[in-house]
Amino acid sequence: MVKRTENPRRDLFPGALEIMILQTLKRQPLHGYALAQRIKRTSNDVLQIEEGSLYPALQRLLRAELVKVKWAVSSTNRRIRVYSLTPSGGKHLQTRVSSFERMLTGIQSVLALEES
């Protein structure tokens, strides 16, 4: 039987991958492969995400119109799709990041309590 895997090996909490994608794209538009490498590198290989899981996430963002896509030509002269942030994507990122930070602070203070 084919297992239907909604989020292949998603160790992260829901939405984390999307935030990372949006944050990365905020700095510059990138094609899929470059995006995967950039996320991997900047997270210092700490986050073990499957590269493939990037693509369903990108489709979700496309559908929600948080990113848009344009055709371009790569250095190897190949047609590639370059993703960039839409204005609503930027807004979405802001709200998500701030709520994300609030959550992190919350978790950290709980953890600090545990230690003392």
Partner: protein, 900 residues
Amino acid sequence: MTRLKQFFSRKRLYTDMDDEIAFHLEQRVEELVAEGMPREKAEAKARKDFGNVAAVKQTAREAWGWKWFEDLFVDLRFGIRMLNKNRVLTMAAVLTLALGIGANTAIFTLLYGLVLRSLPASNPGQLVRLGIASTAQPDDQDGSQMTFHMYQTFREEQTSFRELSAWDASEVQLRDKQGLIQRHDAAMVTGNAFGLMGLQPYRGRLIEPFDDVPGGPSTGWPVVLSYGFWKGYYAGAEDIIGKKITATDVPVTIVGVAPPGFQGVWPGMQVKMYFPLHFEPLAAKMPDLMEEKGENLLGVSVIGRLKPDVNLARANSELTQLQTGLLDRYIPPRLKQIPYFAKAYLVASSARTGLPNYLTHTYAKPLYLMQGLVGIVLLLCCVNIGGLMLSRVAARHQEFAVRTAVGASTTRLVVQYLTESFVIALIGSALGAFAAWYGSDQLLRFFRDPMMGEAISVHPDKTIFWITLAFAVVTTLFCGTLPAWRAARTDPGTLLKSRSPMGEKKNTTGKLLVPIQVGLSLVLVVMASFLSLSLVKLRGERAGFDLDHVTIQTTPFHLLNVKGETKLDLYQRMVDRLMQMPGIDSAAATSQTPMTGVKLVADFQAVAEGSTPPEDTQMAFNDVGPGYFRTMKTRILAGREFEPKDRQLNVCILNESAAEFFFPHQQAIGRYIRNKVNDDFREQVACQVVGLAEDAKFYDVRQGPPRTIYLPLSKERIDTALGNLVFLIHSQTKPQAISAFRQALSEIAPTIPLVLFVTLREQMDAALGSQELITLLANFFGVVALLLSALGLYGLLSVSVTQRRGEIGVRMALGATPAKVLRMILSEALGLLGWGVLLGAFGVFFTMRFVTAMLHDVSAYDPRLLAGVLATLLFVTILAAVVPAIRAAKLDPSETLRSE
């Protein structure tokens, strides 16, 4: 990009993404190779890092949320392919369904149009009709009419209604372009009637309160056209507003067109024009009509709109409080002795669907019955298709087993199966709807108002489309679920191992379906036979007159405004002229024609020497002119019939039953009859019996000839009681009668319009119309039902014989003779029949009471009929079983056993 655009370009989206993923992998491999990894290893590592490519693609596609839709497409394509592979089965299923759904849609179109559709008013649930009803006549509880004065008073006193309005069905005459005068249905309404409904004009304006004043508004009488009449009669002319026309010799101005879809408040009737209520005396040429309406208990129909916070119960309780005063005040004292009025009360009921009328009265019950009938047929069709599909499941077990084994989920299989059923149902309903569209027009011809020229109007609309679709969905669920459930329960292990197409399971579900089919057919066949027998009896009954060669015409001579002897002379002149025409055997005028369903009775007594008159002296009566009996071909057994000189109530003719009743075993001719003067018959009669006529039916073909007294057309009654008389014309053909009448009328009264010509047979058929139609349908579907269950049984037994080849082979090898095998299969069939009959008996028991009202002279449990039906079923069963049984008996045991 919109979602819709995205959907249609999703192929592009998907390939772009596939392309992108391919690029990703390539890029990664190149990088790894550049780092010094061997290409093969690099490719493997790239894939490993990436994850399951297929799963990623699938998940990414699902992100767009179209999966269910794509699955549906796949299912549809697959379903159509599977159905295409089994063309015979598909055709059978589609045609069966087309029949079932077509019949249901057609009948429902009528039922909806005539009984269920709401008036196209705003918030129709608040509309209420009010009128007089009586506990003395519990069958007739319409209560939508009252006197105009009662309406006016109640409107002032009540608090439950936001507003009340009065309606009256009437007619006007228009002269068409050829100069012929034609009658058109019209509604006379109070000025607030349209406002109360919340209707908006399509053009111009509707009737307003300032229009409805005695004498008409200062700008002249207005008329509002119905949308259909404007489109048809005036070809939708844009400059219609302000046009002056002449309606029944009165100049009126067209002020507006009513909204499309609104055809008045009487379902089935097509009102052409709307006038203010106070216009009616002019339209009817009866100057005193408003005073008459003020006292006539059927003067106006009343429609009100409840206040938002008032419900029907509260309105009724207010009505109960006010009714004593109203009834006291407005029912004339002389009527109060009559039981109907002594027990009269006022009642309010919903007018959501409009006002009850002749058509709804006559056809509502038959239509419900027919809907039930075709409902059973649809059920039967579903069961049958269910059976067919089930046999397909049996054949496709292998396929389902394989699909389950490779991971198809149960839901997917069920959905797949339901999709297949849906394809069948959709095609079936499309065909059925197509048939119904044309069929309902044909059916409508059975629904006639004998007094109305035009066929009633019922138009299919959007609701009907949705209903058809609903039928399709229900059918799908009905015939798809069972096979789907069976298919989904398939255990792949046992099935893949087993070589037999059915596994080791027995076809128990199929065995359940056959008795249901038999039972349903039994119900239909029993119903059909009873109805047919009843109709045959009805038609075969001797009426006592010539139904086929008498054409009737009720000329509106009241328009000439002649009275008394002049009026009698006018009718006599017409009759005399008609008699001179070629092709006319005889003609006469009469007050009543037979077979209208109108029951006129009054109290008559013999002026007897010594003997006390029998207690029940109620008797049917008719005022008939000279030549009536000759024209109707009712024999005069003794004495004479009326002559032109008989214009007083001093002579009369009795029929046999009446003569026997008044003067048992005595000569009736020359004796005297008198009457009790009351509201049924207000003139004093003291008449000598001058003739004895044979018995003839009178108001209804379903009932035997009543005791009847015939009176001459008399000076005493011609102005007060008789109204317009009916011409009876006896000729070989109807066209002869029509042309003769046209000629005579153009000579004697050229300004008078013609009304519809009908023969007595047509009039009676109209009265029997629904019965005829139901019988026709019941018979047709009875045969279909038999055919369907025979097919079902045949299919089941065929599969069963194939399945049991091994078993039968063993039996025969052990000494069972072919005859014994034959008996075995036949007895299996008879067993199923037995269960079916048992089920059917229950069905018959529950359904017959709906039909008994329509039966004439046939007992609902006539043993001979039931035996006949059972014999038919037995015959069909054996016919269906005999082929598979012979096939089983002819099996060669050695060959069968070898092949196992």
